[in-house]
């Protein structure tokens, strides 16, 4: 099929499934509601694969020259339009909003390597999660939960929204997808809307996202003001040429403002530091939702957006610095909180925050392709971890606190092994997927002008390994204990274990697309810039060619070329840290279970700080929520007494007049009609007399 057809089909197929389920699910499909959505998402996945093959072929053929040039990281003249060529195609589907005299804001889809990477990630994880949900959203007798069809309709809608977000060819459509995924997130977090905590979490997620989206919207408006267009390609071309609309020169302040406003949206959606509070609470939603939306796909939208706008960000060193700093801070901050939590899903949520921080760190030092690579590998193992946690939760009758159970390894072998593999990947154990991607980011950071970011990354890597295995050891090892009310643990059914296994395979092997050269097999393993980066190279050529980040790019290139010799110490160091973290966890939680308590008691306030998540929620409550509530009370009082009083007085006047005139109304319609006619005649006569 043509690219255009495929690009249209990819969002429409899940939407069709979702709409059908929404329309006839409750009456007709009931327990079978999942089929339509599953079919739609799977078909979309096939479309995306087909898209990938077409573009890949094109890349290897037509775009080989430029790609080769970029792959070798030759110096690129910024004024030269390098890059997309035939690899990126925009399709205008529909003229959407008239903007100005002849201009339209169109529904434009853009297909380029970045899009395809995102689509493949999103759709493959979605397919897995939809499959998993079929097993998860049922009780022990295999009956569907209440709202089964609603769940799948929302899930399909989410996949549609995410595809729209990814495929968007201009900022307005991106914003639409952005808001749509926010809506789906809200709906799905609040899926168990009878639970007050779920409803509150949904509301919180929505409101916190609003803050970020406000900045994002402002950023888009500023882009329109600056460049007079919202189309990606045009905007990026102008940025690359340092031009504004009307051929004025673009100031760095302006571009920084735009980048920071856009990043504001990314902070909200990807839960970066000041706006991270919603993500842990979002774990109130069903576990597949947590896996899909709040770990693998939607929260990475911010990363995707920054990578998409790499040209804009790369043009502003300050913005890059802020992105990197916030990413590093979030990574460390979330990892420390994760050390102390006991709720499996919350640990994973903080881990997600931390990994997203890595991605932003990578973006901040100009390693856009490495960040995308980490996004891609992270999707697999984090989804697998979440789904594993869901599997445990399913077996434990909803209990998720790792203090309440242990030693599940025997009872749930599949869950255990997949969880272990994904955990190893998350910890950064060599030869598993995250090892490659995380190391790349740290390496790029160390090679950049801000090496301290890389050191933070290394510390976080150690913490990551520790908290991951703390969870694994507490939940799956030691003697078998079960929470009250659960007779015996059992392995989940095939609907749930199949996606686990598939995702675990992904967690092992996904990393190799980034380390093999695409034509060299395993021999190119230690060349970090492999097929993945080669594929993505056209997207970031402009950004990397820009003088601001040439240094960073050169650093990566430098490391890439001689990873084997000069950077070996980094590999050894990071794997050493990972193993050390795992060893520590093993020692603390299986050998000497008393130690953690002792440390917690000894560290005292620090532990409390971690345990209470740095009191951020409380701080927000104090600084924002309570004053706002006061303000609301004041407004209410004002409304109640002042405005209502005025209204009462206003209403009293016609009431009094009505009281006087009531007698005239005799109830027979014809009397009124007579009055109307007389009035009509008088008015007409009046008009005539004065004509």
């Amino acid at each position: 099929m043509e690219l255009k057809t495929l690009a249209i089909l990819i969002p429409l197929l899940p939407l069709a499934g979702s709409a059908l389920v929404g329309a006839i699910g409750l009456r007709g499909l009931k327990d079978r509601s999942h089929w339509l959505v599953l079919a739609g998402v799977t078909a979309a996945l096939f479309c995306a694969v087909s898209l990938f093959y077409q573009v890949n072929t094109e890349l290897n053929r037509g775009g080989s020259e430029t790609a080769a040039a970029i792959g070798a990281h030759a110096q690129i003249d910024p004024s030269q339009q390098v890059g997309y060529g035939k690899l990126a195609e925009s399709f205008t589907i529909y003229e959407w909003i008239p903007a100005g005299a002849a201009d339209w804001l169109n529904v434009t889809f853009r297909v380029d390597p970045l899009t395809i990477v995102m689509l493949l990630t999103v759709l493959s994880v979605s397919t897995m999660v939809v499959m998993y949900s079929v097993g998860y959203m049922r009780d022990h007798h295999g009956h569907a939960e209440l709202g089964y069809e609603r769940f799948f309709a929302f899930l399909g809608l989410f996949v549609f929204s995410m595809c729209m977000l990814v495929l968007a060819g201009n900022f307005l459509l991106l914003y639409l997808g952005w808001e749509l995924v926010g809506l789906c997130s809200y709906l799905l977090i609040g899926f168990y809307y009878q639970k007050p905590s779920a409803a509150a979490a949904a509301k919180k997620a929505f409101l916190v996202n609003r803050i970020g989206d406000f900045g994002f919207g402002l950023g888009i408006l500023l882009i329109y003001l600056t460049f007079n267009t919202l189309d990606y390609q045009e905007v990026f071309n102008m940025v690359a040429n340092s031009k504004m609309a009307g051929d004025l020169a673009l100031s760095t302040e302006r571009i920084t403002t735009i980048a920071l406003l856009l990043f504001c949206g990314a902070m909200g959606k990807s839960a970066q530091l000041p706006l991270h509070v919603w993500l842990p609470d979002a774990m109130e939603g069903p576990t597949p939702v947590s896996a899909l939306i709040h770990a693998a796909t939607m929260v990475t939208a911010g990363v995707y957006m920054v990578a998409r706008c790499s040209v804009i960000f790369a043009a502003s060193p300050i913005a890059m610095w802020i992105v990197g700093a916030i990413g590093a801070a979030t990574a460390l901050f979330a990892a420390t909180i994760a050390l102390t939590q006991f709720d499996m899903k919350r640990i994973l949520a903080y881990s997600t925050l931390s990994q997203l921080g890595y991605m932003f760190l990578g973006l901040g030092v100009g390693a856009f392709d490495s960040a995308m690579f980490h996004l891609y590998t992270h999707a697999f193992f984090k989804a697998c971890l979440f789904l594993g946690a869901g599997s445990v939760m399913h077996a434990m009758a909803g209990e998720i606190d790792i203090r309440r159970f242990s030693g599940l390894r025997k009872a749930m072998p599949i869950t255990y092994f997949t969880f272990l593999i994904s955990g190893l990947a998350l910890a950064g154990v060599p030869l598993l997927s995250a090892f490659w991607s995380k190391d790349e980011i740290i390496h790029a950071a160390l090679a950049s002008s801000t090496p301290w970011l890389g050191w933070i990354g290394l510390v976080t890597a150690f913490l990551t390994a520790f908290y991951t295995f703390r969870m694994i050891f507490m939940a799956f090892h030691n003697e078998e204990r079960l929470p009250r009310g659960v007779e015996h643990a059992h392995e989940s059914g095939v609907w749930m274990s199949a996606p686990l296994v598939l995702l675990a395979i992904g967690a092992v092997f996904a990393g190799y697309v980034g380390v093999t050269t695409g034509h060299g097999g395993f021999l190119g393993m230690f060349e970090p810039h492999g097929a993945f980066h080669h594929f993505l190279a056209p997207n970031f050529s402009d950004a990397k060619g820009h003088e601001m980040t040439v240094a960073a790019a050169q650093g990566v290139a430098h490391g890439a070329g001689e990873h084997g010799s000069e950077s070996h110490w980094l590999m050894w160091l990071s794997s050493g840290l990972a193993f050390y973290g795992i060893f520590n966890a093993w020692y603390f939680y299986t050998r000497r279970p008393g130690i953690p308590l002792a440390i917690a008691l000894a560290s005292g306030s620090v532990y409390k700080l971690f345990y209470h998540k740095y009191y951020v929620d409380e701080l927000y409550d104090l600084v924002f929520v309570r004053p706002l509530r006061r303000l609301g009370d004041m407004c209410y009082a004002c409304d109640r007494f002042v405005i209502n009083g005025i209204l009462w007085i206003i209403a009293a006047i016609p009431r009094a007049i009505g009281f006087l005139l009531r007698g005239w109304q005799q109830g027979a319609m014809q009397g009124y009609a007579l009055g109307m006619v007389v009035g009509l005649v008088v008015i007409m006569w009046w008009v005539l007399a004065n004509a």
Binding site: Q670, L674, V681
Partner: protein, 253 residues
């Protein structure tokens, strides 16, 4: 031609209003049949005179005048006849006269549509409803069979006065106003009238046509919903009725 047109139109209005007043039912009988006929004849004559003045010298369109007079007389009988069925039939006559007048001025499609929609559908519905609600009167005791509320008019004086004022103001305005007539309009419009009308409806008025369709649909549903009779459900057929009870219930088809 010394009398201004406007005074003639006032006279016509007064005569028509008076004719209605005379013709309105009082205690169910035709109160002053002779007077009514005389007044109507004079009013018609004045109307024809007025119309002739309006037509000017080049055309004295007697057919139109006759149709107008017949239509107006029928309309007056619609509002004055004490029996609703006759009112409805007179209204059919009004519709036919109107349609004929429209066809005469070249609006042939509208005329035909008027007959189809009004005479063919709306009025049949009226007749249907009237028949549902009223028996036809006995020949001998027409008054006794007539319903109270058909026998007497409600506040005829005020109504006819208002009617006179309305007629006078409208007719006076129409006659007096210096209408800007477009040169040679009529023949150009009249040829291929139906085609032009179709084009107009499908281009300029396309949205209105859609809205009208929706409106009709809504009215259809609304009418069904309003007038539906709550009848016993079909399940009632399975009930065993006591002898003598069977058949007393209204059974819906």
């Amino acid at each position: 031609m010394s009398v201004p047109l406007v005074y003639i139109s006032y006279i016509v209005s007064a005569l028509f209003a008076f004719g209605i007043f005379v013709g309105l039912p009082k205690q169910g009988r035709f109160p002053r049949r002779g007077a009514f006929i005389v007044v109507m004849a004079v009013a018609s004559a004045m109307l024809i005179y007025l119309l002739q003045l309006l037509f000017g010298a080049e055309s004295r369109n007697i057919t139109f005048c006759i149709l107008a007079v017949l239509g107006l007389a029928a309309a007056i009988r619609v509002v004055t006849h004490p029996l609703p069925v006759y009112s409805a039939l007179y209204f059919v006559f009004v519709v036919l006269a109107t349609a004929a007048m429209l066809i005469q001025v070249g609006a042939e499609f509208l005329g035909a549509a008027l007959v189809i929609v009004y005479a063919g559908a709306i009025l049949v519905t009226y007749v249907f409803v009237i028949m549902l609600s009223q028996q036809s009167p006995e020949m001998k005791g027409r008054i006794s069979a007539m319903l109270d509320y058909d026998r007497s008019a409600r506040e005829p004086v005020w109504a006819t006065l208002a009617c006179f004022m309305l007629m006078a103001v409208l007719a006076g305005m129409i006659v007096e106003h210096p209408w800007k007539t477009v040169a040679q309009p009529l023949s150009a419009v009249a040829t291929r009238n139906t085609v032009e009308l179709g084009r107009l409806l499908m281009t300029d008025f396309a949205v209105s046509v859609e809205l009208a369709a929706v409106l009709l649909m809504v009215a259809l549903v609304g009418a069904v919903a309003i007038a539906r009779k709550r009848l016993p459900q079909a399940a009632d057929f399975s009930d065993h009725k006591a002898p003598g009870e069977a058949g007393k219930t209204v059974v819906p088809y």
